[in-house]
Amino acid sequence: MELSAEIKREMYWMMLLARRVDERAWVLHRQGKIAFHISGIGHEAAQVGAAFALRRGYDWVTPYYRDLALMTALGYSPTDFMLSLMGKAAEPSSGGRQMPSHWSLRTANAVSHSAPVATQTIHASGIGLAIKLRKEDKVVLTTIGEGSTSQGEWYEGVNWAAVHRLPVIFIVQNNQYAISVPPEMQMAVPSSADKACGLGLPGEMVDGTDVFAVFAAVSKAVERARKGEGPSLIETRMYRITPHSSDDDDRTYRTREEVEENKKRDPLLMARTLLEKEGLLTIAQIDEMEAKAKQMVDEAVKAAEAAPYPAPEDAAFPVYAEEVRRG
């Protein structure tokens, strides 16, 4: 599918916005205004590329914690994120029950996930099964880190989709680390895409710093899935530019040189360079986007700071569906 200049710019915008939101979270953390942040810096191309391959709001997603850019592209706003960082009541994922970045966005068919890694992989297959049973043409996209593909539940989830030819796209974001552990300590294959051959579905590795390459690869997989031809596995490879989370000290296990070297492939820079070269993005447009992002982030922080905390006793609910209060 050929992308229009406008869509390409929109993809860039989504990456940019997610990046600025993410950076602000680090600032808030340094300021002592929030206690925890887990960052998606370096992952924006993979996530935005994947999101744009979907019919957003129609297709389904089971994401993982590093998906700020994916969620942003699905409609999770900077304010939503700031609310979640601060544990405010109006946060749409959980009303302050879950840690930040444990997404859920019902309006975008983005399913609530937990911290135990790889549980969402099986859920994606279950959703895929439901879609198939209802004979609909939706697809499910699910994401995960490369380290988490060591988990048995990941294998079981992908296997289900392969056996039952379900409309699921399994995206692995290989950022070279699972906290401190490199891929060589997780798997004996060069890429998690290689795991596809053992499970009987197509597997592909794609440059996860190239938003358009990811878009193309995921689009192909979405098409396959929509036509009933079954699941695909795609590894998007990038580098985790930040520490694992604000609790992590990555100096214990990797050098500053390594990190600096890898920043050269910052996906935001790369997209910008490409779009500028193609003449699709002017300095003026970029400045405008940056200004808009800054404004949105400023407003989001302000709104979140002003927003109320949940009432303590609201923590008692809703344990069971009968206790859900809507509206």
């Binding site: 089971t62 859920s104 549980t119 099964l129 609910f317 069971y320 569906a321 009968e322 206790e323």
Partner: protein
């Protein structure tokens, strides 16, 4: 009214729910053409087809996890775990996912799902085909745990479970599958999840039990009745959430309580019931709260003398009743 077996009641419930609601489907190992290793799903594959009675790959985490995904999408899965002893690989999906989904998403996502699991010993199954596991699951807010003891309840409770908007773990006393028979009306009926059932009124003491042990308890109560001991029997039925009111009301009347389960004593479900009574009916108690339960060994051994040593039966229950009555 027809007299049917426990397992036939379960089969009927599934048959009727499959017919009633096209969102209902069954997934598990050998549930299809084989009709289940206990024959609980016999005929359903032929009647509803392989899309609604699905043979899963041999992986319990995926059986439950796929069920969760489908439930999130709006389906009503009935997941079969072939023996309760094999539910452990699905523990993460049940406890961390299904049970916490509603709460963690502040009610945005719910998991209407049933997990059926045959449990219990006395069938020559040894350590891994005899386990009683309710004690591991009656500590999980968000989950409902049901154990029927009669065909009527089995059918009515299973139908309620399928319609319940929450995950329901449905433990079936497999020794009673063909042993326990009872009258079940033809037409539509349900039994509510929640209330315990006073199955025998009495004045000297109360015995609380469920499943196969409730069946035995009624027999023991008849035996001691001839000796002049008037026993009240409560079938707890829904183990979680607990029906505190019915429990306390009965103890306040009789003044003495015996709790009977087949599962290991220490840390078992009986501890919770004893604690509720000890706290809530303190001034009404005429004797210590007694528990009669399986011994604290890992599970039921295979060899018959050892199995008999482990298992409770009406005679052992009658003896515990006599002792408590004498206090």
């Amino acid at each position: 009214m027809a007299e049917i077996t426990l397992i036939e009641a379960i089969r009927q419930a599934m048959d009727e729910e499959l017919a009633r609601d096209e969102n209902v489907f069954i997934v598990g190992e050998d549930v299809g053409q084989r009709g289940g290793v206990f024959r609980a799903t016999v005929g359903l594959f032929e009647k509803y087809g392989g899309e609604r009675v699905i043979d899963s790959p041999l992986a319990e985490a995926s059986i439950v996890g796929v069920g969760i995904g489908a439930a999130l999408y709006g389906m009503r899965p009935i997941c079969e775990i072939q023996f309760a002893d094999f539910i452990h690989p699905a523990f993460n999906q049940i406890i961390n996912e299904a049970a916490k989904m509603c709460y963690r998403s502040n009610g945005e996502w719910t998991v209407p799902m049933v997990i059926r699991a045959p449990y219990g010993g006395g069938i020559g199954g040894g350590l891994y085909h005899s386990q009683s596991l309710e004690g591991l699951f009656t500590h999980t807010p968000g989950l409902k745990v049901v154990v029927p003891s009669s065909p009527y309840d089995a059918k009515g409770l299973l139908k309620s479970a399928v319609r319940d908007p929450n995950p329901v773990l449905f433990f079936e006393p497999k020794k009673g599958y063909r042993l326990i028979k009872g009258e079940v009306p033809e037409g539509e009926f349900t039994v509510p999840i929640g209330p315990a059932n006073v199955t025998r009124a009495g004045s000297d003491l109360t015995v609380f039990s469920y499943g196969m042990m409730h069946h035995y308890t009624l027999q023991a109560a008849e035996t001691v009745a001839k000796e002049g001991i008037d026993v009240e029997v409560v079938d707890l039925r829904t183990l979680y959430p607990v029906d505190r009111d019915t429990i306390l009301k009965s103890v306040r009347k009789t003044g003495k309580a015996l709790i009977v389960h087949e599962d290991n004593l220490t840390g078992g479900y009986g501890g919770e019931i004893a604690a509720i009574i000890a706290e809530g009916a303190f001034s009404d108690l005429d004797a210590p709260v007694r528990r009669l339960a399986g011994p604290d060994v890992p599970a039921v051994p295979f060899s018959h003398p050892m199995q008999d040593w482990f298992m409770l039966n009406p005679a052992k229950i009658a003896e515990a009743i006599r002792q408590l009555a004498r206090y």
